[in-house]
């Protein structure tokens, strides 16, 4: 991945508009966050291969960035995005990393479902 180029991301968001796409949306503190301090909790959520269709996709901010996808019945929102990659020419991967390279948030959009394992021996 590389630091987000806003224009490149916006172009990709535009390409994926008005069609069924699969999203991976995730945020996490890491499973060991609960060990830090008395009342700390580990928080994680992910949706892998949720199928959505958005009419408008927009990247905003000046880094870290936000992305919103406007759908007929609601929204997808991600904040804290720092890096991006276009994978296999069609999948848009966005992620937010801290100063140790640890992922805190990810939003990925693809016309095909994301794989659930490496599929290889």
């Amino acid at each position: 991945m590389q630091p987000i180029n806003k224009a490149d991301v916006q172009e990709k968001l535009n390409q994926l508009v008005n069609q069924d796409v699969y999203i991976h949306l995730e945020t996490t503190t890491g499973s060991y966050a609960c060990l830090q301090g008395e009342k700390a909790v580990s928080v994680c959520a992910y949706i892998r291969n949720g199928k959505v269709n958005y009419q408008r996709g927009q990247i905003t901010g000046s880094g870290p960035y936000r992305v919103g996808l406007k759908m007929q019945d609601g929204w997808v929102y991600a904040e804290g995005l720092t890096d991006f990659e276009v994978m296999d020419g069609e999948k848009l991967l966005l992620a937010g990393h801290d100063d140790q390279g640890q992922l805190g948030i990810a939003l990925q959009i693809s016309p095909e479902p994301f794989k659930n394992d490496s599929g290889r021996e």
Partner: protein
């Protein structure tokens, strides 16, 4: 030939952090080791420092790292299930236990390394540990392998007492550190710190690596045993 040991862990690197030394000692003695790794660690938060993996490339990278770590430790029988990270807790525990039980019947280990149920912190650790106990419990008490459980929950000392097994792994420290370093995407955050300290204070190597030279385990107490003792 020595009877084998079985290690049952959900993520690539679980076999290395806090356990690679004990396993390397088995390998050194000629004890065969079978490792079940249930997921590919697909959902790990660490991507290397600086990061070189992303959510989609991580599983294949971690599988390769695991193979390299196994090489460093001396594990020649690696069984990768490739289930999805964080989801073990939602699978049917009987089905997980079935798969583990098959391996127990096949290799007849005298000991199993896994997490201590309810003290593994990560939900996958606890789910797989419980399935492992469930599998081993299908054997009569006197035929069951002993279970060396790893615990690091906040209250593990309070609930389980101090660990009854403390192993000096200083003789295989190089192998252990090689295994940890093999898991580069996950261990760089930690090894960078160690390397910086070593670079600054080469003479204090033993002190800097002291925490890596001992490994601790809690022998699992079967409910049947606890009943007869009371």
């Amino acid at each position: 030939m020595n009877r084998p040991v079985l290690a049952v862990f959900p993520h690539p690197d679980d076999e290395s952090f806090g356990k690679a030394g004990a396993l390397a000692l088995h390998a050194q003695e000629g004890t065969p080791i079978t490792l079940i790794c249930a997921t590919s660690g697909q959902m790990g938060r660490r991507m290397g420092n600086p990061f070189f993996a992303n959510r989609e490339t991580l599983p294949l990278i971690r599988e390769k790292e695991l193979k390299d770590a196994c090489e460093a430790i001396g594990i020649h029988d690696l069984r990768m299930w490739r289930l999805l990270d964080k989801t073990l807790q939602f699978e049917d525990p009987e089905e997980l236990a079935d798969r583990i039980f098959q391996v127990i019947l096949e290799i007849r280990p005298f000991r199993i390394y896994t997490y201590y149920p309810e003290h593994g912190v990560h939900p996958d650790h606890d789910a797989l540990a419980e399935a492992t106990i469930r599998a081993a419990s299908r054997l009569p008490l006197n035929e069951r392998p002993e279970i060396y459980g790893s615990a690091f929950s906040k209250n593990c000392m309070e609930v389980l007492g101090p660990p009854d097994i403390i192993i000096d792994v200083s003789s295989v420290l190089d192998k252990k550190m090689a295994a940890i370093r093999a898991h580069r995407s996950q261990s760089e955050v930690m090894t960078k710190k160690i390397d910086e300290e070593l670079a600054a204070n080469a003479a204090r190597k033993d002190e800097i690596l002291a925490s890596q030279m001992k490994e601790q385990f809690w022998t699992y107490r079967w409910p049947e045993e606890l009943v007869t003792r009371r």
